[in-house]
């Protein structure tokens, strides 16, 4: 018939099926973010004042730096704990690997509020954490209301986002290469450093960037476990919006956080697909399409 002659002029049914999802996305995500962008440039007259004041008001910059520092700490903690764990996952029997994987996925379905509540209990004054330090002769060690407590709790929540990309990249490394290096007389450390580490770099980089990026947007954990004196960027964003009603300033700050996040995620994506690393959660993705 004529379909072979003009296949491109009619909208193929595949595109029609995308419309409902795109419409939902537009209403909830794209349109509000676009309006927020417009507000950040000032109405009715165009101005960059809201952006410049982010760096000159004295508060925002301090909080930005504190957020970045917290993010770096969380990233380091999750890497130090996540790398051995992911490596262990590639070494154990398939059955044990399944158990370790389920343990990694536990934080994905345990309620955010339940977990934060649990950390409040553990870190509070007179709580189990203080008792442990007490036992070792250190008194008055309380992490509640402190960046350290926030870091401990955030690292637990973000650890899966380190372990999953690491696991997928470590699992693809052929360990026979290490045995070959050992057989040729290299020490375990050199074999690891010269062979295993370079091969794992894709997963390492995407895990590091992913955890840091996600840590920037954390709201509930710092709000509950931190203190207003040591607030992070998400708390500032919330305060500007709901208490100060500074919608334009909040818009500018939100855009800054969003752009930094998307740039970092786009960068991480080059090293082996961050979005698919997160998406791997419900079911292992079999189709390498994204």
């Amino acid at each position: 018939m004529t379909t072979t002659e003009r296949p491109r002029r009619t909208l193929r049914p595949g595109w029609l099926l995308l419309i409902p999802a795109l419409a939902l996305l537009a209403v909830v995500l794209l349109l509000p973010l676009f309006q927020s962008l417009l507000r950040s440039f000032g109405t009715p007259e165009f101005t960059l004042e809201h952006y410049s004041s982010l760096f000159t008001d004295g508060v925002t910059l301090t909080i930005l730096l504190r957020t970045a520092a917290t993010g770096v700490m969380v990233t380091v903690v999750t890497f130090v704990l996540g790398f051995p764990y992911a490596y262990l996952m590639t070494r154990v029997s398939p059955r044990m690997r399944g158990v370790l994987l389920v343990i990694v996925l536990v934080p994905f379905w345990t309620s955010v509020m339940a977990r934060n509540f649990a950390w409040i209990i553990i870190l509070q004054r007179g709580g189990p954490m203080e008792s442990i330090f007490e036992f070792f002769g250190m008194h008055n060690v309380v992490f509640y209301g402190d960046v350290v407590g926030v870091t401990i709790a955030m690292s637990q929540v973000l650890l899966p986002f380190m372990v999953l990309p690491l696991y997928s990249s470590l699992g693809a490394i052929d360990r026979k290469l290490l045995l070959a290096a050992r057989g040729l007389g290299s020490s375990p450390f050199i074999a690891f450093w010269k062979i295993y580490w370079p091969l794992s770099r894709g997963g390492v980089v995407s895990g590091l960037i992913l955890v840091f990026t996600l840590s920037i947007g954390f709201y509930v954990t710092p709000a509950l476990l931190g203190s207003p004196q040591q607030s992070l960027i998400a708390q500032l964003l919330a305060t500007r919006t709901t208490q100060l009603l500074d919608f334009a300033g909040a818009g500018a700050l939100g855009m800054l956080v969003l752009v930094v996040t998307l740039v970092l995620v786009g960068w991480a994506n080059r090293f082996g697909g961050t979005i698919s690393a997160v998406g791997v959660v419900p079911t292992p993705q079999t189709k390498g399409n994204s």
Binding site: P20, L24, S36, M113, R175, T242, G251, T261, T283, S290
Partner: protein
Amino acid sequence: MTTTPAELDGGPVAASSGRRRRDRGVDPIPWWLKLIGLIVALYFVLPTLIVIPLSFSARADFGFPPEGFSLQWYENFFTDPRWLSSLGNSVLVAVFAALLATVVGTAAAVGLNRLTGRLAGFMRTLLMISLVTPTIVVAVAVYISFLQWHLTGSAFGYVLAHAALGVPFVLVAVTSSLGGFDQQLLRASASLGASPVRSFIRVTMPLISRGVISGAIFAFVTSFDEVVIALFLRSPTFQTLPVQMYNAVTYELDPTISAASTLVVVVVTIIVLVPQLVGTRRKSS
């Protein structure tokens, strides 16, 4: 994936006894690595479990360790109208958000499966983008826009926002179950006279049902657990369970949250794990 640990551990010296094999294995797992693994596994699981003993405590504060035994927090959870209504709201919102996310997400996954090229790849990324946008930025933007559209404090507003968050999970799950789908089946069905809708219901749907169900479950859990957007959309007349839990920790200092936490953790774990177990059993039989 090319070598199994058993091969590496036992291959060259498989003839020797089990214990000696472990001693002289070419590539053993060091004990300290196992120890780190154990510590990390405990770090994942243990903290959350602390809410369970606390929920049976007779103490009227958040103190730990728990003292005595009491079911008062459970009783309070199921009788206090604040807790009950927020639980009801959460279930209502999560059910409709999951339905909406599943319908539009499945349609998008089926559509994208037929499309190729740059634009289709971009669309897939766009639909997944809510996974990586910081929730607080979305929450603030949604709050201000929904204020103008009079959607804050309404179940409808919650459903819309939560459904958008659930779409990526449905998309991934359905896409993965479409991986082995043979497009020829649809052509065969059409040549036998079935309409596209009938083909979808009778041919596509049964084949991707597992992916659809697993996506729907994750969309439900995502909504049921969502707290940041919920905090912004709440009103004195409408709030969800995570918001009530947030209030319990910050303003009310209400230990009922320990019972609520325990119930939520247990119920959601069952919701997530049971389909997996049923699925594997069906596969193995």
